[in-house]
Amino acid sequence: MNKVNQTYLRFPLARRIEHWVMMLSFVTLGLTGLPQKFSASNLSTSVMSTLGGIEVLRTIHHTAAIVMMLGSVWHLLVMGYSVFVLRDKMSMLPTLQDAKDGIQALLYNIGFVKSYPQMGRYTFEEKMEYWAFVWGTVVMVMTGFLMWNPITATQYLPGQFVPAAKAAHGAEAVLAVLAIIIWHMYGVHIKRLNKAMFNGMQTEAEMLHEHPLELADMKAGIADRRPDATILRKRQMIYYPVAAILTITMLGGIYGFINNEQTALTTITPLTETQIFVQQTPQP
């Protein structure tokens, strides 16, 4: 039964580390963000007092946000390398086939069609979650910027964008956290404990169930064909400087995001000075 024991590498270590970093920052953001949104609840206040108060909570939240932004920059660079240098198949891009797969899966579940769709490296469920995360991150970074830098933002935007950003940030957070709890938990932990993000591996049976098309490609030897050494070198010589410029630009953006504005955080309200003891002069 060699066939069943055969395993395939799904996520190399670097991708797993990336996942865990993003996961940790996501959890931290959720745990320090939701108590801010629902600050009236007892659970929130006990979380806050445990961590040392609202200002500490905000600092942790900001730090986790920076980690997530750095993680996103890293992801973009890795994707750039994959797309430009390795010319990998852009297997995460949503296609019409994904919609068809989704509908087929639903119809199969309720018994209207006989077979479950056969999918490649990423199923429609995984793509949905990935793009939901991308959308969520974009919304959170943009609305987060508005709240972190309200003075800069309102030089170009109407003032009410700031409370609107706060509303969207909180609502999107609720959506993101619940979506992860519902979709991600069910998809990779409950339905079947998927160990791909732990040891990186999938068994043949797992591959056959969930990614039969990718498995077929692997067996055919066309799954990840590497360009030959000279082409690889040539592309790297172009990509590395471009990536360096992109990195500097994006890191500069993050630096500006963090340090652009301080008045909202550091100003102490000036006290109104009043003479306390002023004796009344007797009226003549």
Partner: protein, 387 residues
């Protein structure tokens, strides 16, 4: 600073019970010792009329060192005082005097003479007397400031009229009007600001007693230091005592949602959390008074100075955010609930997510339920096949 300044009126049954108890004790005492109905010393106690026979005369002074203290008592004014009404005798307070000539006064100035009566009020007004010991005035006094207010500075015992209703313990309207004038004796600078405020103006010009006097915010007798962090952090809840009370606010068409809208904003959320968790720790987020003023609180709708005008609000923002530009002040929703008229973008963002969140999550849950259903059916079928 959260202490009640108005004592609840005693319930009727308490009054009846106390009256009954009093009657019972009186009857018991009368029965037990009818001969001693009046204590012996009272026979020697000079009546008020006896004292006033001399003291109503105009222009009599007591010389204390270089100062002279008028000791004329106006019988009419004294007659209107609560002490006269309650039958308090002059000698009840002036305990060292029982005959003429009076004993010599040793102190050398009028202030020291007043201070010789420091503990006198305690005999009847124990509660108030004790409270004053926790006040800023007492602290100043203990630090050596002899001018710090003591009982008699606010309540002239010879003229003080009744401040609360005879049966209710609530302050009378006239007392409320009078209070700021009493504080003004030493705090006239603040009083001048207060008079121009929306509260002070209504009180002093219209005798409107819905507005707060000094003691509604600062307390009475145990007046606390209003410059502490604790006091500052509690400010929103202090203002909210009246400003969330629709019985008062409805008369003037003022929203009672001001605390909620403040607390749901970034600033208010922070202050509320500090107030609850670390009341003594400072936060740089503004409280009501930072925008609306302290003693000079103005009308929001005032055509010149009102905060409803964007430029005026912006100057408040700029106290903490000096770089803020014109649009910035709209980042604070001015106590409005977002609606299609006020802050529509916020309103529509909320509306969008109100449908978007359940739609996305509902879709996910539905799909998962069909998946679970299929798994159960499949495993049942498999089981059926095997058996």
């Amino acid at each position: 600073m959260r202490q009640r300044i108005q004592i609840r009126p005693p319930r009727t049954w308490t009054v009846i019970l106390l009256l009954g108890l009093g009657l019972f004790i009186f009857a018991l005492a009368a029965f037990a010792s009818p001969a001693q109905a009046a204590p012996a010393f009272q026979e020697k106690k000079p009546s008020n009329d006896f004292c006033l026979a001399c003291h109503q005369e105009e222009g009599i002074d007591l010389t204390l060192g270089k100062e002279s203290l008028p000791v004329t008592i106006n019988p009419t004014k004294f007659g209107l005082s609560v002490h006269s009404e309650e039958g308090i005798a002059c000698v009840d307070c002036h305990t060292n005097i029982s005959e003429y000539p009076h004993p010599n006064v040793k102190v050398k100035n009028t202030r020291d003479f007043t201070l010789t009566f420091l503990d006198t009020c305690k005999d009847c007004h124990q509660e108030q007397y004790t409270k004053t010991h926790d006040s800023v005035h007492q602290i100043a006094f203990d630090e050596g400031n002899k001018n710090a207010a003591v009982c008699m500075d606010c309540h002239n015992p010879h003229t003080q009229t009744r401040l609360t209703g005879k049966t209710s313990n609530e302050l009378t309207a006239s007392a409320r009007v009078e209070i700021p004038e009493i504080c003004a004796k030493c705090h006239s600078g603040i009083y001048d600001q207060y008079k121009t405020s929306v509260h002070g103006n209504a009180l002093t010009q219209e005798n409107n007693t819905d507005v707060p006097t000094c003691i509604d915010c600062h307390g009475v007798h145990n007046i606390q230091n209003p410059t502490t962090v604790t006091f500052r952090n509690s400010t929103p809840f202090l203002c909210a005592k009246c400003h969330t009370d629709s019985k008062i606010m409805d008369k003037y068409g003022i929203s009672t949602n001001v605390l909620n809208s403040y607390v749901s904003d970034f600033h208010g959320t922070t202050v509320k959390l500090f107030e609850e968790q670390f009341p003594g720790q400072p936060t740089n987020k503004p409280v009501c008074t930072d925008c609306h003023g302290v003693h000079n609180i103005g009308k929001v709708g005032d055509k010149q100075t009102g905060l409803a005008l964007k430029e005026n609000l912006l100057t408040k923002c700029q106290r903490c955010h000096p770089d803020a530009t014109a649009n910035f002040s709209d980042a604070w929703m001015s106590h409005y609930e977002p609606s299609p008229e006020h802050f529509p973008i916020v309103y529509y963002v909320n509306l969008f997510y109100k449908f978007f969140i359940p739609a996305v999550l509902g879709g996910m849950v539905l799909f998962i339920l069909t998946d679970i259903y299929r798994r159960i059916i499949n495993s049942l079928k498999k089981g059926a096949k095997h058996s």
